[in-house]
Amino acid sequence: MTLDAESRLNLRHDEPDVVAFLLQNDGLVERDDQVDDGGDPAMYWLAMRPSSDPNERYYIRLEWDAYPYKEPSIKFADAIRGLLTVTRAWPNITGYRAGSFDICRPMCREGFLVHPEWNQGSTAWPTEGNPFLWVVETIQFHMDNEYQGRAQ
């Protein structure tokens, strides 16, 4: 994924709040080009856990193409830089569809593709403030309040 210079700068600006939030929640975030030379600066890997099951770890790939103007792709993986097509990598949470490897909520590219009508009105992608942090906080909120175990 090619990321324009403005998006790259905007992501760097908003990253520290995401790092701080995940540290508070026993998680972490790594930009792909920090994991490995030649990595993709548009891609971030998160490790997160539900508060009800702190021994579980979920790995999430966020991929941006125009930040903050467009929503990211959100996929669960079996490890940082792992496979994106593993059902058990997904949590059981309403709207998180392990069978089709997507989240059907107005917070990611996959959701807006299924529901283009979400581009209008109050469900439209938010571009003010720190949408990167919002996405991560929203996933954490779902894990802490709607988690029903690991998908099988």
Binding site: G95, P106, G129, F141
Partner: protein, 91 residues
């Protein structure tokens, strides 16, 4: 007298990432409910519920009931921190 008044107050701080505003910080009575704090936060951040989603306050990651008092969340602390969460309905 002034000290007693100060002890009866608690500071709330509400964060919301997708806004042009900074966090809401205000002092309120310790007996104030989460529901009242939520109303204050939604007014401050200029958001409102609609058919697609509702707003709730989360404390330590957990969604809070509107009838819970700030005092019960704070314990001996003089501050309670919340995140304002946009609860999105399923697609």
């Amino acid at each position: 007298m002034e000290d007693n008044h100060r002890l009866a107050e608690i500071e709330i701080r509400v964060s919301f990432p997708i806004t042009k505003h900074g966090p809401l910080k205000e002092k309120v009575e310790r007996g104030t409910t989460v529901g009242t704090a939520l109303t204050d936060a939604m007014t401050y951040f200029e958001v409102h519920d609609d058919s697609q989603f509702t707003y709730v306050l989360a404390h330590d990651g957990q969604e809070q009931n509107g009838s819970t008092t700030l005092e019960s969340l704070a314990g001996k602390s003089h501050e309670v921190r919340f995140n304002l969460v946009k609860k999105i309905t399923q697609g």
